[in-house]
């Protein structure tokens, strides 16, 4: 591995690492409120290293641990890494299996985005990606550990609406996911399924049910569109041929 490339990737991710650390400190505060030890949180940072999935895990944390719901929830939330991983293939041409296995653990949304931007200018490599991952991992661990220390001092979390912090941070994150009118149908479906599933299903399965159910809507629209039932999809086809 080339150290200059790793350093370049590390530096390119420094600005975004600041927000990652801030975000991590919120997770740390919430984890402390749930009586998750700093050691378990650090282990989670190092082994899972995925922001929204870790937030969901801390949110689901209860006794006894709902192992099945948590692992399934994390897997569904992280399904996007399939596509992220696939999109990185051009950076790993002629690289060894060991190199791939080593670097891929440190792929997060942020260093992926920074690397893809650099790749468009022909200035990215798998070492650059790895350097970015190191930077983010460091920021993530520092942020969560700082938050955990602070969280232990907060005696009455409800006064500061800390119990609402999860809902608030996820509402903000969800807002950023809106891609335009195309999301209206899947989002309405997801919300309705989630509310119904929360009433009918035990535990936290409503997250998986609403997420999968909502995402199936545009997939079905595509399938029906292929058979010619949705005019908007059909209309675009002649343009490709022209």
């Amino acid at each position: 591995m080339r150290h200059s490339e790793i350093q370049r990737g590390f530096r390119a991710n420094l600005p975004i690492a600041v927000s990652v650390a801030a975000y991590g400190s919120v997770l740390g505060v919430l984890a402390a409120q749930d009586h998750i030890s700093w050691f378990v949180l650090l282990l989670m940072d190092l082994s899972i290293f995925a922001g929204s999935a870790q937030f969901v895990m801390v949110d689901m944390w209860s006794t006894p641990l709902p192992i099945g719901e948590m692992v399934t929830g994390v897997a569904v939330i992280n399904l996007r890494y399939l596509l992220i991983g696939a999109s990185l293939e051009p950076l790993f041409i002629n690289k060894s299996m060991g190199h791939k296995a080593f670097v891929m653990h440190l792929v997060a949304d942020e260093n992926w985005a920074v690397t893809m931007a650099a790749h468009r200018q022909g200035r990215a490599s798998s070492d650059f990606l790895f350097g970015g991952g190191c930077c983010l991992l460091l920021a993530w661990c520092l942020g969560t550990m700082t938050g955990h220390q602070l969280g232990a001092f907060i005696r009455h979390p409800e006064v500061y609406a800390l119990d609402f912090a999860f809902v608030a941070v996820f509402t903000a994150l969800t807002t950023g996911m809106w891609r335009g009118k195309m999301d209206l149908a899947p989002w309405v479906a997801a919300a309705l399924i989630a509310v119904a599933a929360e009433a009918l299903l035990p535990g936290k399965w409503y997250i998986v049910a609403g997420g999968l159910g909502g995402a199936l809507v545009p997939a079905l629209q595509c399938l029906i569109g292929d058979r010619g039932s949705i005019p908007s999809v059909k209309k675009e086809e002649p343009h490709v041929n022209e």
């Binding site: 899972i48 890494y81 991983g85 509402t171 919300a191 509310v195 997250i207 609403g210 997420g211 079905l220």
Partner: protein
Amino acid sequence: MLTNDSTLMNTMITLAGAALATYGLRLGGLLLSERLPRSPAFRAFMGALPGTILLSLVVPGILAAGPWGCLAAMATVVTAVKTRQTLLAMLVGMLVIMFQRHLF
């Protein structure tokens, strides 16, 4: 002590399961990049997934917090759209709830 031991065991099983699933998806995506379905339906499904999951997570939580929860969520959405600052948007939502609790 028995309960502590089994709690620790469950914690480790959960972390290992979540870590393996996440790592498997990261590496699997790279290794299977040639073989992933390229159909528009699959792309549409995967493209919509992050948004629908987060929404499903958040909607029951907002409703559970009642009218003030809905108000706080709206304030969060507006702040997030206007400023694109996740942290600030979160704090605005929490401030609405804090305000409610100090008031009543």
